[in-house]
């Protein structure tokens, strides 16, 4: 059985099947990215935080735009070469296209990794500090007892342990007496996955939700990532999986190297507690604060002189002033010496690196560019396949291969077309 019109066009519609297929697919892609663009507009219009503008470096985006445009030209040429039966030129054009795709993804990876390494802390008064954490772990020492839950606990929490990897020895809990699964446990045993399983099994037999284990080895110290914990106080820390440590919280402040201070959402700039944060740099810090406030104040005065219709509160809401204010706050551009502040966690409202978690701007940035990147990868795979594995088809029916390349090309142009919109939306405004 043959499906008709796979290579030649049907006379009344003038189209072959795959051509209809790809255009339908692209129509649905328009709606997919249409949904994303609409969401972008919706989120940006509704944002109750200053929507980041000029947040991304223009150069990589610019290079990638050029890159995709060049690849669009080469892919048309690949198709044209096939139509003219110039196979070698087709191969060259296709290879350039693929190379462009690879370069595109490399630049993307470079951009993404830069974002992942960058952090922001929002203080309770709305001030946002951006920069790089020097030390942001929660230190928890003198741990003498651990409670594991029967439902979820695992041993991953031990990865957060500070110091040597000597085995953790615990006492057999009295509550487990009489449960079959605990019968082969010695009075004192090592906490490993096999034993943990027996403990959980025994606890379940006795219908216990959790079991408390006392350490017989020396007390443990932990440095816990904020994301791994579910809650803590001075004497207890609970991990996401429900494992609870008993001990002493020794330090939970974030030592943070600041490279930008954003005070657009700060309620009362002159009296922000930010200025009161302890600084290891003493003198220079005071000096810096003075400079900051002075600079900020004079910009404000100048702005108010220029725009008589504004008062101070209104100026703070003005886009232009915000941009200037923000730029102002950037600490000495180009300097690698950032002021370091120590932020107690009680002062912080939100802390994250520049991932989708950071704010809806980054969320939709990563979603749209990520999805676009997946399209690039998909297109590259298809074209790579045609380049390397479809030689036989050229010999058999060159027109068929040309059709395939046309279909892949249509997809590739569409990917380029989306990027043409993504570039200004994210990099330019």
């Amino acid at each position: 059985m043959e499906i008709p019109y796979t290579v030649t066009a049907r006379s009344d519609t003038g189209l072959w099947n795959a051509k209809i297929g790809i255009w339908l697919f692209l129509a649905s892609e328009v709606m997919l990215f249409g949904g994303l663009f609409s969401s972008y507009v919706y989120l940006r219009m509704g944002a109750d935080f200053p929507w980041p503008v000029h947040e991304l470096k223009v150069l990589p985006g610019f290079l990638n735009t050029m890159n995709l445009i060049i690849s669009s030209v080469t892919v048309v040429f690949a198709w044209a070469s096939l139509k003219m039966r110039m196979y070698t030129r087709y191969k060259i054009c296709m290879s350039i296209t693929l190379a462009c795709a690879v370069i595109f993804m490399c630049i993307k990876a470079y951009e993404y990794s830069g974002k992942f390494a960058h952090y922001g802390v929002t203080l309770n008064d709305g001030t946002v500090l951006e920069g790089h954490p020097v030390d942001d772990l929660i230190s928890f020492d003198d741990v003498t007892a651990i409670t594991v839950t029967t439902a979820t606990s695992d041993l991953k929490f031990l990865n957060e342990r500070d110091g040597d990897d000597a085995p953790v020895m615990v006492k057999k809990p009295l509550e487990l007496d009489g449960a079959d699964a605990a019968s082969d446990l010695p009075a004192e045993f090592e906490l490993d996955s096999g034993n943990l399983r027996s403990i959980k099994k025994a606890a379940r037999q006795k219908e216990l939700a959790a079991v408390r284990l006392e350490l017989t080895s020396a007390p443990l110290a932990f440095n816990v990532h904020e994301r791994r914990q579910k809650g803590y106080n001075d004497t207890q820390l609970t991990f996401r999986d429900g494992t609870t440590l008993e001990g002493k919280m020794t330090n939970d402040s974030i030592v943070f190297g600041v490279d930008r201070i954003d005070m657009r959402m700060t309620k009362d700039i002159e009296n922000s507690p930010f200025f009161g944060l302890l600084s290891p740099e003493g003198e220079s810090w005071e000096e810096w604060k003075g400079k900051f406030l002075k600079h900020y104040g004079s910009t404000m005065d100048e702005f108010l002189r220029e725009h008589e219709e504004f008062d101070k509160a209104k100026a703070l809401e003005n886009v232009e002033f915000q941009r200037v204010g923000l730029r102002l706050a950037t600490v000495e551009p180009g300097s690698h010496h950032y002021p370091e502040v120590v932020i107690p966690r009680s002062e912080k409202r939100f802390y994250s690196n520049f991932t989708p978690r950071y704010n809806p701007y980054y969320a939709i940035y990563f979603l749209m560019t990520g999805l676009h990147g997946l399209h690039v990868i998909g297109g590259a795979l298809v074209m790579g396949y045609m380049l390397f594995f479809n030689g036989w088809l050229y010999k058999k029916n060159p027109e068929h291969l040309a059709n395939r390349v046309e279909v892949a090309g249509l997809f590739w142009h569409f990917v380029d077309l989306i990027w043409i919109f993504l570039f200004p939306l994210y990099y330019l405004f």
Binding site: T13, G14, L15, K19, I20, W23, L24, A27, V30, M31, G34, G35, F37, S38, S39, V41, Y42, M45, G46, V53, H54, V58, F62, T65, M66, I69, I70, S72, V73, V76, F77, A80, K83, M84, R85, V319, E320, R323, G409, L410, H413, F414, D416, L417, I420, F421, F423, P424, L428, F429
Partner: protein
């Protein structure tokens, strides 16, 4: 869409030319953000101008590279409806956002 080799050969120059136009206009958009268009900073006019250039560029891609300048009627039909629905979605989202209950109450 051209399908015989002779016509395609002639079209190659056009493809190259369009590629150059696209590259140049990319440069233009980037330059534009450094010039103020009436409003300071990134204002509506900058966004409008940026989007206009992007629309222009993407229409070139669609018309020339994707051969939409001479495609079959059927495909225009699909795309027409798709564009209507996309535009409808975008517009209605925006209108719904602009018109929360308090807004129409006071206006």
């Amino acid at each position: 869409m051209a399908s015989n080799p002779e016509e395609i050969r002639k079209h190659q120059k056009l493809y190259l030319f369009i590629g150059c136009v696209l590259l140049i206009f990319t440069g233009v958009t980037v330059l534009m953000t450094t010039i103020d268009l009436g409003t300071p900073g990134v204002g509506p006019s900058d966004i409008a101008a940026g989007l206009a250039i992007a629309t222009f560029k993407s229409s070139l891609v669609a018309l020339i590279f994707m051969h939409l300048n001479s495609e079959k009627k059927l495909i225009y039909k699909f795309l027409l409806f798709t564009m209507i629905f996309f535009a409808g979605m975008m517009t209605l989202f925006v209108l719904a956002k602009l018109d929360p209950i308090t807004f129409s109450f006071y206006h």
